[in-house]
Symmetry: C2
Subunit: 136 residues, 2 copies
């Protein structure tokens, strides 16, 4: 580091606005994709967390096509069970999710996406996380 250069920002204190909206596509192997198990409706649950602090933002469903599109484009794409169609998160709301890492669980029947959340948050109510209500 050059003397007199600006201090390196502490990553843990970084603001929650995205520092970069660039997509970082992920290239899965065929073996990884084949490990994913879909339910009788052809869907797999996908948990979405914030890449900065692991906060769970939402849970939605993916079909195989939306998983592949998510990894290829670096933005989350889900399957809407109510509308029976694929939807790309944020196209309407602006609350896009930029995928920074993606995982599949031990059984291959649940996905975990670590994202950079753009906009207000992940929830359609405007909340940062869909899990804003506690029992008790």
């Amino acid at each position: 580091m050059t003397i007199g250069a600006p201090a390196t920002p502490d990553a843990s204190a970084a603001p929650r606005t995205p520092t970069s909206l660039a997509a970082t596509p992920i290239a899965p192997t065929a073996e990884q994709l084949a490990t994913v198990k879909y339910n009788e409706a052809g869907l797999v649950p996908a948990i979405v967390v914030d890449h900065t602090d692991n906060q769970v933002l939402m849970m939605a469903w993916m079909d195989e096509g939306s998983l592949i599109e998510t990894l290829e484009t670096g933005r989350t794409v889900f399957w809407s069970r109510s509308r029976q169609e694929r939807w790309r998160k944020g196209d309407t709301s602006g609350d896009r999710q930029w995928v920074r890492a993606a995982y599949y669980d031990c059984d291959g029947d649940t996905l975990l996406l670590s994202v950079e959340q753009e906009g207000q948050g992940a929830c359609h109510t405007g909340a940062r996380s869909c899990f804003y209500r506690a029992f008790g």
Copy 2:
């Protein structure tokens, strides 16, 4: 710190063994319980995270009875779809989960449990989290 004494462990590197195994039951309101929506099989997905760092540990399913038992007893109880029976996490493995907070999402169709994880971890493989494999 006394010279020559062992260095104080960095809290971030502290062992993940629980500091207290006491259950902290949660008393939900009838309205909160009524908000939860179960699928056609009578089940709702439940995401489990570590209460210290929000790491996603696992995802499993609950029927209404296992949700109520989880909140009342302060330990996670799930519904096994393969065995078609209720199971209390850790009774066999010792990897019990002590619930510290519980949430339901905006649509009421997904649960989030924040737990103190006992033992090696949440995964039957011995891993701390079931999501130990990344795409790419």
